[in-house]
């Protein structure tokens, strides 16, 4: 109990500290921190699937990518600029894709699911890389950053770095609170039950597959949100974001941070981002280093950073 309160205080301090980053006035670090927050949101969304429902999916980068592309498509194709229109539509689109892929994947489990989700990700990667109508391999610009205006005045301009930063910050905090509530709610409990013993949950009368698909859709839509925010921040989307390595990387992030804790994966994302920023300068073998981190985490730190924190404090 004590440790959890300390965690909560630490998270609050961390959130406030993040909110103060724009005061530095340095555009680079503001954008860097925004990128970290998007990565944190992305990792948290996967944690719902991996850490709570016990579903190991490699399709998560695909939903991130779909979200980003949907924002680009809605802005460029349909001329929608208001985030009140584009964000919900992009999320809905991602959710539908997650429903289709989830429906096909969740029929299986374990290792089948890993491979099938990988194959779907690869399929989307090829689709967006090859079809010139979808931007082709060079990607697309988001013609106009999301902007909310009413009666001739601009209320919210996400093309402004600082505004986008606070928007992303608010989204991260809101999604964290939402997810934290969800995993404690009956829905989250059922997911945990499925992870531990699906057969028992079924005999108890739960339609486990429906719960799993629901988790898949929820996690996919949130990954889509991360993608939407990424496209908002950079104004550029490219099929490389669908790569299976991205899916692998976010899994590493979740496990490094500590699955099933929500804040752990967020922490993992920040740590990896910072490590990458500085690590790339002194080694040409950055990817091997990430690989080594993944191996070391599996072998020596199965609880991840969160486990380490809890272990040393509680």
């Amino acid at each position: 109990m004590n440790a959890s309160r300390r965690t909560r205080v630490a998270l609050l301090v961390f959130a406030v500290a993040l909110a103060l980053v724009p005061l530095s006035g340095d555009r680079f670090w503001v954008q860097f921190a925004a990128k970290m927050m998007i990565a944190a949101l992305f990792a948290m969304s996967l944690d719902l699937l991996v850490g709570y429902a016990g579903i190991v999916s490699l399709a998560h980068a695909a939903f991130f990518g779909l979200g980003a592309y949907l924002l680009a498509g809605l802005t460029n194709g349909a001329g929608l600029v208001s985030p009140l229109a584009t964000f919900p539509l992009a999320l809905a689109g991602t959710a539908v894709a997650a429903l289709v892929i989830g429906f096909l994947s969740v029929r299986t489990s374990g290792v089948y699911l890993v491979m099938i989700t990988l194959a779907f990700t690869q399929m989307l990667y090829f689709l967006f890389g090859e079809a010139p109508g979808l931007g082709g391999s060079d990607g697309l610009y988001v013609a106009q950053r999301p902007r909310l205006s009413a009666f001739g005045t601009t209320l919210l301009d996400l093309g402004n770095g600082r505004t986008a930063y606070f928007f992303i910050w608010a989204a991260l905090v809101a999604i964290y609170l939402l997810l934290a509530r969800t995993v404690r709610a009956p829905f989250g409990r059922v997911l945990a039950g499925i992870r531990i013993n699906e057969a028992r949950m079924r005999t108890l009368g739960y339609r486990t597959r429906r719960y799993k698909i629901a988790a898949f859709v929820a996690a996919g839509a949130l990954a889509g949100l991360a993608g939407v925010l990424d496209a908002t921040l950079y104004g550029f989307v490219n099929p490389a974001i669908f790569g299976w390595r991205q899916s692998g990387l976010v899994l590493v992030t979740v496990l490094l941070g500590g699955k099933g804790t929500l804040y752990g994966p967020a922490l993992g994302a920040v740590l990896l981002g910072v490590l990458e920023h500085f690590g790339e300068k002194w080694t040409a073998y950055w990817n091997a280093l990430i690989g080594a981190v993944a191996i070391a985490t599996v072998l020596a730190l199965p609880g991840g950073l969160a486990g380490l924190l809890r272990g040393s404090r509680g």
Partner: protein, 396 residues
């Protein structure tokens, strides 16, 4: 080295009024300060050898200029872009916003270039594209502060159509990797070939970067065209050449392509490559004093052979040196600097070089033939080829 600098920058900015960040960023550039050149190139991944050759050639050219441009000492800031467009916006920002480089150069990958274009168009950073051939860079996205010292995809493939027609091949099959480089090369070839009276029997897109060609080779054999035009590069090119020869097609249907089909893969392809005709703005075997001097110096400096990628890096620094000398190293004089670059001329290892209206090179394109495992230059495919620059307002 760079970490404390940027941390100091953060502190300084934090203590000052927040508005200080809004000041124009080059206003403080003292003429005597070092000139910061950003390199956004791949040093790992598939294109690492290209990134290394471009970098080393730039440093070679710099050493010929005593490491000074317009009287200012050069400070290099390199970022490994891994040829990963997913990371590109962050990497470009690292150089443009984080390091505040005076001049940005790179990249190899055109997806990375697209991310870069978006940012430098907004930030107005003087940018020299040293490889990526994507049409929009000097076409629909062209910008006064962006120059290119390499090529446009059009320049490498359009002239090939003329060469094929001159050889009397009127019926062709086109085969290409289905990503932007391949698509743009194919469309330039198609434009030239149909304009010249040829017909393209079939176009075969192959998913990038897969290299399983056998099915399509059987198909080509059954279509019996006069010739085949292909776009592949690197590993895929080597494999394609070997497959094409092994399927017994090399003797029956001559193979043509953009020069990237044979660049850097002759060793891997072996004797299978003999007889391939390609077009490109450079050839290792170009018999000019400038090329000989460059190749010898590059070999001496790196103990590697120079290539078309290195040439672009080498020319970049020489052109910059000319322009910066003219403005006496004052990078804040943006208009004068751009005008000086536009007026720059160089006797490049590839032949005479100057920038066109859209800042794409105007350069000769050569016909090359692989013979006895080596590339021979047969002559000019197109003299002073100038990209048509679709959709660039600067073209008129």
């Amino acid at each position: 080295m760079r970490t404390p600098l940027s941390r100091r920058a953060v502190l300084a900015a934090a203590s000052a009024a927040a508005a200080s960040a809004m000041l124009p960023r080059r206003s403080f550039a003292a003429t005597k300060a070092k000139i910061k050149i950003g390199l956004l190139l791949p040093y790992s991944g598939t294109y690492a050898s290209l990134g290394n050759n471009i970098t080393d050639a730039m440093k070679l050219a710099a050493s010929e200029k005593k490491n000074r441009l317009g009287g200012r000492e050069i400070e290099w800031v390199a970022v490994d872009d891994e040829s990963d467009p997913a990371k590109a916006p962050a990497n470009v920002n690292k150089l443009v916003v984080g390091e505040k480089v005076d001049i940005l150069t790179g990249p190899v990958h055109s997806g990375v270039a697209m991310a870069m274009m978006q940012i430098v168009r907004q930030e107005k950073t003087l940018t020299i594209v040293t490889n990526a051939g994507a049409q929009p860079i000097t076409g629909s996205l062209c910008s006064p502060n962006v120059f290119r010292t390499s090529f446009s995809n059009w320049q490498t493939s359009y002239p090939c159509a003329g060469v094929m027609l001159k050889d009397g091949r009127k019926k062709a099959v086109g085969m290409f990797w289905n990503y932007s480089f391949g698509q743009e090369s194919m469309s330039a070839f198609r434009e030239g070939f149909t304009k010249g009276g040829g017909t393209i029997v079939k176009e075969i897109p192959v998913p990038f970067p897969t290299t399983e060609f056998q099915a399509n080779l059987s198909e080509i054999a059954s279509l019996k065209p006069d010739a085949v035009f292909v776009f592949f590069a690197g590993a895929g090119a080597a494999k394609f050449i070997k497959d094409y020869a092994a399927a017994g097609l090399m003797e029956k249907i001559p193979l043509y392509g953009s020069g990237f089909l044979t660049e850097g893969v002759l060793g891997a392809a072996g004797p299978a490559a003999n007889g391939i005709k390609t077009t490109l703005h450079y050839a290792d075997a170009l018999d000019t004093p400038a090329n000989k001097k460059f190749r010898e110096a590059f070999k001496k400096a790196t103990s590697r052979e120079a290539d078309v990628y290195a040439v672009a890096g080498y020319d970049t620094i020489h052109l910059l040196a000319q322009a910066l000398d003219k403005v006496k190293g004052d990078t804040s004089a943006e208009k004068d600097l751009i005008a000086a670059l536009e007026a720059a001329r160089t006797e490049s290892p590839r032949g005479p070089f100057r920038f066109g209206k859209t800042h794409n090179p105007i350069q000769n394109v050569y016909v090359r033939l692989v013979k006895g495992g080596r590339e021979e230059v047969l002559g000019l495919a197109q003299k002073e080829a100038d990209d048509p620059a679709f959709g660039c307002a600067m073209a008129t």
